[in-house]
C-alpha cells in the first residue's frame, strides 16, 4: 500500500508512515488550532515530492493564502507558475453552485491534471449551507465517494468550538480518517495547550495517544515523545 507523507514533523510515525493513498482525512479543530497551516504544510510537502496539488479555498482569497504560506517560509508562487499547484477560491455561500462544481468539475480537474493531493478548507461553510441533516449527509457522502474514485488523497477541514466532534458530527463518519486538533484551556491559569490526536484511520494501526503540538514559524510540529497534562487541582 502506498502511503502519503503528511509533511508534519512527528505525525507520520503515529500513523504507520502516512495516509493511505486515495483516502480522505477530516481535520477537526476550533479557530486558530492550525487547520489551514496543517493543509498548507501537507501541500508544501507534496510539492517537494513533485506531487501535483490542488487547494480549494472556501474562505481565504488566493493571494492571502500565498501570504499565509510565506509566513511559514513556503513559497507557493513558483509552483503555481510551473502548474504544479492550483489554488481555487470558491464561493462558500453559493451552496448550490459550489456543491455542483465540486461534485462534477472537481473530479474531472483532478483526473486531467493528475492531482495527487487535494485540500478543501474550510468545509464548515458548505456544511452550514444545507437545509437539513439528510441533505448534508447525502451530499458529503457523494462528494467523498467521487473523490475516492479519482485516487486523490484529500484533507478536508471542519470546525468545532471545543471537544472531540465536528459541529455537525457527519463528516467524521464518512471520511477514512480523522485528525483532531484541540485547544485545551488548563483550568489552573487558563493557558492554552494544543493537543493532537488521531481519532480514526482506516487500514492503519495508528497511535491512540493525545500529544502536544505547536504552530511555529516553520509550521506544525507534533511532540510525539511528550505528553499532555491538565493541571486541575482538586
Amino acid at each position: 500500500m502506498i502511503r502519503v507523507s503528511t509533511g508534519i514533523n512527528g505525525l507520520n510515525e503515529m500513523i504507520d508512515g502516512g495516509i493511505p493513498a486515495g483516502h480522505s482525512v477530516a481535520i477537526i479543530g476550533p479557530p486558530g488550532s492550525g487547520k489551514t497551516t496543517f493543509c498548507l504544510q501537507y501541500i508544501w510537502d507534496g510539492l517537494q515530492k513533485d506531487d501535483h496539488c490542488l487547494y480549494i479555498s472556501l474562505e481565504e482569497e488566493e493571494d492571502r493564502l500565498l501570504q499565509t504560506a510565506m509566513n511559514y517560509g513556503w513559497e507557493f508562487k513558483k509552483y503555481i507558475d510551473r502548474d504544479m499547484l492550483s489554488l481555487i477560491k470558491l464561493d462558500a455561500f453559493d451552496i448550490t453552485g459550489t456543491m455542483d462544481r465540486m461534485l462534477s468539475e472537481l473530479p474531472k480537474l483532478i483526473n486531467k491534471n493528475g492531482v495527487k493531493r487535494l485540500v478543501i478548507d474550510p468545509f464548515i461553510h458548505i456544511e452550514m449551507g444545507f437545509a437539513d441533516d439528510h441533505k448534508r449527509r447525502v451530499n458529503i457522502y457523494e462528494l467523498i465517494r467521487r473523490l475516492a474514485k479519482t485516487g486523490v488523497t484529500t484533507l478536508i477541514t471542519t470546525e468545532n468550538l471545543e471537544g472531540v466532534h465536528s459541529h455537525f458530527g457527519i463528516l467524521e463518519s464518512i471520511v477514512d480518517a480523522v485528525f483532531l486538533l484541540q485547544i485545551i484551556r488548563s483550568t489552573e491559569r487558563g493557558a492554552l495547550i494544543y493537543a493532537f490526536q488521531v481519532n480514526k484511520m482506516r487500514w492503519s494501526a495508528h497511535s491512540k495517544d493525545i500529544k502536544p503540538y505547536a504552530i511555529t514559524g516553520r509550521g506544525i510540529e507534533i511532540y510525539r515523545e511528550s505528553n499532555v497534562y491538565w493541571s486541575e487541582k482538586e
Binding site: A191, I193, P212, A214, S231, E234
Partner: protein
C-alpha cells in the same frame, strides 16, 4: 554557557573545568555564620558515604528535612560535577537565577548545569542584568530559550515542562555526547500547589521513566511537606533511597 567574571572567583577555581574548590570560600560568603560551611561539608560527606555511584541506580530519592534542601542541592552539585556528570535542573522551588548566584558564590564552574526554569518567564525583573544585551531570547511556543536555560511560562505548565525537558535531552544527546547525565527536580513540594497528588505522581513517574529510558539518573528531594501517599509511591519506583 554562563561565564563567571566576578573578581576573585577565577583565582579560586582550579584550572580544570567542572571541579570545585577544595577550600571553603568563607571570605565570599559575607553574613554567613562560620558554622554553615562545615554543615555543608557534613551533608556532602554524608551523601558521599550513602551514595555510591552505581549505573544501575537511575532513580535516587533523598529524604530530608525542608531546612536541608539547599545544603543537599549543593552537596549534590559538588558530587555530580566531581563525577563529571552533566545535568538538568528543573527549577520549581527556586528560580534559576537563584542557583546561578548560589553556585557563583560557592565558586562552581557552572558549565555542567542546564536549567529548566518555571519561575522567571512571567515575573518582572527587579533590574536589568548588566550583561543582558548579550542575551538572546528565542520564543519556542511552549517555552523561551536563553543560553543555558529554557524558561517555561509557569510551574503549572506540565506539558511545556515535558516538551522542554525532552528537547533539552535530545540536544544534550546530539551535541554534548559522552558522560553521564542527571536530572534534579528541586521542588516537588511546590508542584503540589498546581496538581493533585495522584496527577503529580503520574507526572513525576512518566518524567522519571523517560529519563530512565535515556539512561539519565534522576534525583528527587522528598521533604515533609509532600503528600505521604505520593512519597511512598515515589519510593516504589526509586532504585535507591537515601535518608539525610
Amino acid at each position: 554557557m554562563y561565564k563567571d567574571t566576578a573578581e576573585g572567583i577565577e583565582k579560586m577555581l582550579k584550572p580544570e573545568p567542572m571541579v570545585i574548590i577544595e577550600q571553603p570560600v568563607v571570605s565570599k560568603s559575607p553574613g554567613m555564620s562560620p558554622g554553615i560551611q562545615s554543615q555543608d561539608e557534613e551533608v556532602y560527606q554524608k551523601l558521599l558515604k550513602e551514595y555510591i555511584f552505581d549505573k544501575s541506580e537511575k532513580v535516587v530519592s533523598i529524604i530530608l528535612d525542608p531546612s536541608m534542601i539547599l545544603k543537599a542541592d549543593l552537596a549534590l552539585f559538588r558530587l555530580l560535577s566531581e563525577k563529571k556528570m552533566k545535568g538538568i535542573l528543573l527549577c520549581v522551588g527556586r528560580p534559576a537565577e537563584f542557583y546561578i548566584e548560589l553556585l557563583r558564590s560557592k565558586g562552581f564552574n557552572q558549565d555542567f548545569l542546564f536549567y529548566l526554569d518555571t519561575l522567571t518567564f512571567s515575573s518582572p525583573r527587579k533590574q536589568q542584568e548588566p550583561h543582558s544585551s548579550n542575551i538572546s531570547y528565542k520564543h519556542v511556543f511552549y517555552y523561551q530559550e536563553k543560553q543555558n536555560m529554557k524558561q517555561i511560562p509557569h510551574p503549572s505548565d506540565f506539558t511545556a515542562i515535558d516538551v522542554a525537558f525532552t528537547s533539552t535531552v535530545e540536544e544534550f544527546v546530539c551535541n554534548k555526547s559522552g558522560g553521564e547525565l542527571f536530572l534534579l527536580i528541586d521542588g516537588i513540594a511546590s508542584h503540589q500547589l498546581y496538581l493533585k497528588p495522584s496527577s503529580l505522581g503520574a507526572f513525576v513517574h512518566t518524567l522519571v521513566s523517560k529519563a530512565r529510558n535515556w539512561n539519565i539518573t534522576t534525583f528527587l528531594l522528598l521533604t515533609d511537606g509532600i503528600d505521604p501517599i505520593l512519597i511512598s509511591t515515589i519510593k516504589t519506583f526509586s532504585d535507591k533511597i537515601i535518608i539525610l
